[in-house]
């Protein structure tokens, strides 16, 4: 069997690590240039920590109607779609809730700052809700009502991975994998065969932390199209008054979700759909198992004790994670 050479590049973006694989190594520079341009535009549009971003401008608008770029409108639309498809479990109006639990700066800065002050009492139970976001794609207008504050973290990274993979595949006609902090999108022809009995497709180690090495506890699978995303309560955590909190907000409470799952990985037709489902699964807790099965989404769910459950054709797991 022939092991095909793959061009690989890793770099920092959105406060995490990006990995770019192209099946033709000679096209790696072109692919990287496309990714850099697209990711810079997404960051400029929807970073919550850049005062000059469109998101910051919208959050500071006091409920006014704000003209936005086509890119930002697309990102908002993706977030609203995720909310609608999950009956509001993946809600983009978690901005204020995240600030209340101390996530009000870049995560690297947050970690370096150490423990935050105690949780403030929530002003209202839950988040304002995605229906407080008014979007007019045709005219490029967005309005936040009822004091809603947007955070597009649940969808923007995965959306950007999809966008980069799609653009790179179209421009280079090469197979490509884009991983943004473990949110993975692939496009173009997949590698035919990786040799050593691994079969075709892109090999992905599924585990709790995207920064863990390839031998980290977990499972290796191959994907040939669409996206694979993992959500977890074990990563991107910080201390608040001696209590560990994480960034996945349950819209019903406005507080970090309490889930029976520590990590959920999902494959779907796109990375943003996979990430929508994995995030919703954390929030839905036990009910997620039946939901993912019914939605025919191949998934791997890891309970807090390490027990693994799978749905809808996810290959069997060799043992506890």
């Amino acid at each position: 069997m022939t092991t095909l050479a793959v061009g690989t590049d890793s770099f920092s973006v959105f406060g995490t690590t990006a990995t770019l694989l192209v099946s033709d190594p000679g096209l790696l520079d072109d692919a990287r240039a496309i990714a850099d341009a697209e990711l810079a535009a997404v960051d400029m549009a929807c970073s919550r920590f850049r005062p000059d971003s469109e998101l910051s401008r919208l959050n500071g608008s006091g409920g006014a109607v704000v003209p936005v770029s086509s890119l930002f409108a697309e990102l908002v639309e993706a977030a609203l779609r995720a909310a609608r498809l999950t009956d509001g479990d993946v809600d983009p109006t978690c901005g204020q809730a995240l600030e209340e639990i101390g996530y009000d700066r870049d995560f690297a800065v947050l970690q370096a700052a150490g423990a935050r002050s105690p949780l403030s009492a929530p002003v209202t139970l839950g988040v304002p809700g995605w229906r407080c976001v008014r979007l007019d794609r045709k005219r490029g207008l967005v309005q936040l009502t009822d004091g809603a504050q947007l955070d597009l973290g649940a969808t923007a990274k995965a959306w950007a991975a999809d966008r980069c993979a799609s653009l790179i595949a179209a421009a280079t006609e090469s197979g490509v994998l884009v991983s943004l902090g473990g949110d993975i999108a692939v496009a173009g022809p997949p590698p035919a065969d990786r040799g050593e009995g691994r079969g075709g497709g892109w090999g992905v180690r599924v585990t709790d932390d995207h920064a863990a090495g390839p031998e980290a506890p977990g499972q290796t699978v191959t994907i040939r199209s669409g996206g694979l995303a993992t959500s977890s309560t074990t990563v991107r955590t910080w201390a608040v008054a001696g209590q560990r909190v994480h960034h996945i907000i349950d819209p019903a409470t406005g507080r970090p979700a309490v889930s029976c799952w520590r990590t959920v990985s999902v494959t779907a037709g796109s990375c943003v759909d996979a990430n929508t489902a994995s995030t919703a699964a954390i929030i839905r807790s036990e009910a997620a198992l039946a939901w993912l099965q019914e939605a025919c989404l191949p998934s791997r769910l890891v309970r807090q004790d390490g027990t693994v459950e799978t749905t809808a054709g996810w290959p069997s797991d060799p043992g506890p994670a």
Binding site: L21, V65, E77, L80, R81, R84, L85, V133, R134, D136, R137, K138, L141, Q143, R163, L167, A169, L177, S179, G181, G182, A185, V186, A187, R194, R198, W202, G203, V204, R205, T207, H210, A211, A212, A216, G218, T220, V221, T222, I223, S225, G226, T230, T233, T234, V235, R236, T263, T267, A268, G269, S270, C271, V272, D273, A277, L297, G313, W314, P315
Partner: protein, 112 residues
């Protein structure tokens, strides 16, 4: 009452009835015309709203953007290799499920 007075009164009555009738018909016709105009305008409004929803935008008649639930139906710029389109239907299932593999993988999927 004299006979001429009766005739005059009857003529005046008939003339009044005729005027009222004429006015009523005109008012009715105007009402029908207005109703038709309103119906046409409403139909156009509904059609425009439906079109805006399908295109993920708001109502073109409103000064405000459409509410969040009008936001669906996007092409997410994905690799578009799922088994169906990425529109309003639901989360798109992958074209094929992942396959089991050995070794460490080329990349790692985990939370960040």
């Amino acid at each position: 009452m004299r006979r001429d007075d009766v005739r005059f009164a009857a003529a005046a009555r008939d003339d009044g009835i005729h005027k009222i009738s004429k006015f009523t018909w005109r008012a009715g016709a105007a009402g029908v015309a207005c109703s038709a105009l309103i119906a046409v305008a409403f139909g156009h409004h509904v059609a425009t709203n439906q079109s805006s929803t399908d295109n993920n935008g708001g109502s073109s008649h409103s000064q405000q953007p459409a509410a969040g639930n009008n936001g669906g139906g996007s092409n997410q710029g994905s690799s578009s290799q799922g088994s169906s389109n990425q529109g309003n239907g639901g989360i798109v299932v992958p074209a094929q499920p992942p396959a089991s593999s050995q070794g460490g993988g080329q990349v790692t999927s985990g939370a960040s």
